[in-house]
Symmetry: C2
Subunit: 332 residues, 2 copies
């Protein structure tokens, strides 16, 4: 089942069911007004959403319409929590080596997770407003899971039952602000503005064998202005999503609709490229002694998509840009 | 105006207006179902809420009821963002000196803020479930502001117009997990379970001269099991709440209902005591070479209250405990 959110002026948007091929959609607002409330009552509503999806596939749903990723909001424009990992270990290792960062984060045997803003996620084709190119604009191509309500203290094994949806997203990062914030011990605030999400969220069964062991087994294609940045296997997570849930929930509950990210997709094989500019610069530093690839500029076009063996794109493409933020605030 | 939230089975609870003396309440659910939606439409609803408050004070509101802080939820059981500062600089300085922490955080000339969970805040008299006493349970007595929708890039001067409500809260911290997390650069996750809030949120005018320059000018009384931990002036913030808003919003928007915390209240004068056990232990280390005060235990009683010169308590008291978390999760 594929679910999307359409802008309707409300903060959470309107829930729609989307066809497997992403071409058609039908409202589900009569089942749950938005995806957030659907996740809060998932055991009661999943069957009805699935029936709507089956009707849509069978061509028997009334009032279907063409699904346009350009007008889709993030599947969850606002989520109870956004917890983002760094589970592709080759990413962290390269960053530490290239930029002489603290090795402390490489030496722990548990997932690394930061808490990010989750109140204004953007849709797949958004023009993302940012204050300045001087902050070192970068992408992070990631996979994510959406949970139902997770009790405190779940184990990794118990966590498997709490994965309701899978998403793809770009965890936009401002690199010139990031290293400074990381040294202060308070986590990442200014360096992590918000994220841009895939047009739809999918139930794990949509991936078939592409979802197993708490990992996604597909390839991810990442491009900037039509040039490939990476074509990466998505299954090299040192910690699974189940481990990430258990780590996050050790001392807290997670509200239904919590999104947990994988961290930047990365492969041990450097020839596969990277899921962000920073890691590409790290590879350049390690190989040539200096970084050559520039950070991103306003109006650069980011493309992120996951593909299965047959070239199908379960989530559709993220295809967004950046624009200068225009304030409407009166001067003081 | 004082606003509170009553549990009604919904995630956001039900909005009520509370009398200045905290004795009586009246529903405001016909104006806005909950405080979160009220803050999203504040310019349209503030006047009606104020009228309801005036009716209540005049004894002319129908269907009033006795306000019982014991059944109040957090004013915002879930908030779009929770960003918590460390603005009482004497706190950070003592912690760094006593425990040989990195001095990096003392050397920056901007606020320090971490992002915490905001999807399950607790009411003033909650019994807070935690997994283990071994994590070093501690309180942090704090003041907080609640914003309306804040645009990206506001200045401190512009930020003043975005403070809608003031709250008091306990940012419960698990100290034996905290230092480890702070050294990893990803911020605080496991060491920050959730917070316990004052029975009501108040509009800034409720404090009169007690709210000025983006700071609260009152005293805060903090006790454990009836023994005073601190009696602290609340106005020694090195950065004002306006500065905190501007820092938080530099590269992002803040959704209406965002809560920004002051950090643990602390005074330069050590004889005033402390707003947390950790800082008391820091003072013990600095004076005696070792910490003597133990971390908290299940069923210990925490009392946090702010008082004006006349002994009035604008928010009422936080009076909570801790209990062992009981999972309902099936074993796997």
């Amino acid at each position: 089942m594929k679910l999307a959110t359409i802008h309707d002026g409300s903060p959470d948007g309107k829930l729609v069911v989307v066809s497997h091929d992403l071409s058609r959609a039908v409202t589900a607002a009569d089942i749950a007004p938005n995806l957030r409330t659907a996740l809060e009552s998932w055991p009661h509503l999943e069957k009805r959403l699935k029936e709507r999806s089956d009707l849509l596939e069978a061509g028997r749903a009334p009032d279907t319409f063409s699904f346009d990723p350009a007008v889709a909001a993030a599947p969850l424009p606002r989520a109870p929590q956004f917890l983002d990992g760094s589970s592709f270990l080759s990413h962290g290792k390269r960053m530490v080596r290239a930029f002489n960062l603290s090795t402390a984060a490489l030496e722990v045997n548990h997932p690394l997770i930061y808490q990010g803003a989750s109140d204004a996620f953007l849709g797949a084709q958004a023009a993302m407003p940012l204050p300045s190119e001087e902050h070192g604009i970068d992408i992070e191509a990631e996979l994510g899971i959406v949970t139902d309500a997770v009790p405190m203290g779940v184990t990794s094994a118990q966590a498997a039952a709490h994965v309701r949806l899978l998403v793809l997203f770009d965890d936009v990062s401002l690199r010139r602000l990031l290293f400074g914030e990381m040294t202060l011990g308070f986590g990442m605030i200014q360096c992590k503005p918000t994220c841009v999400f895939s047009p739809v969220a999918v139930t794990p069964d949509e991936l078939g064998e592409g979802w197993r062991d708490g990992r996604v087994h597909l390839r991810m294609e990442i491009g900037i202005n039509g040039h490939r940045l990476g074509n990466l296997a998505t299954d090299q997570m040192g910690f699974s999503f189940y481990d990430l849930i258990a780590h996050a929930a050790r001392t807290r509950t997670l509200g239904a609709g919590t999104i947990i990210g994988s961290g930047t997709v990365s492969n041990e094989d450097a020839s596969a490229g990277t899921g962000c500019i920073a890691e590409r610069r790290a590879l350049e530093v390690l190989e040539h002694g200096e970084a050559k690839t520039d950070w991103l500029h306003f109006h650069d076009r980011v493309q992120i998509e996951a593909l299965d063996q047959d070239g199908h794109s379960p989530w559709g493409a993220i295809a967004h840009t950046f624009i200068p933020y225009q304030t409407s605030e009166p001067p003081r």
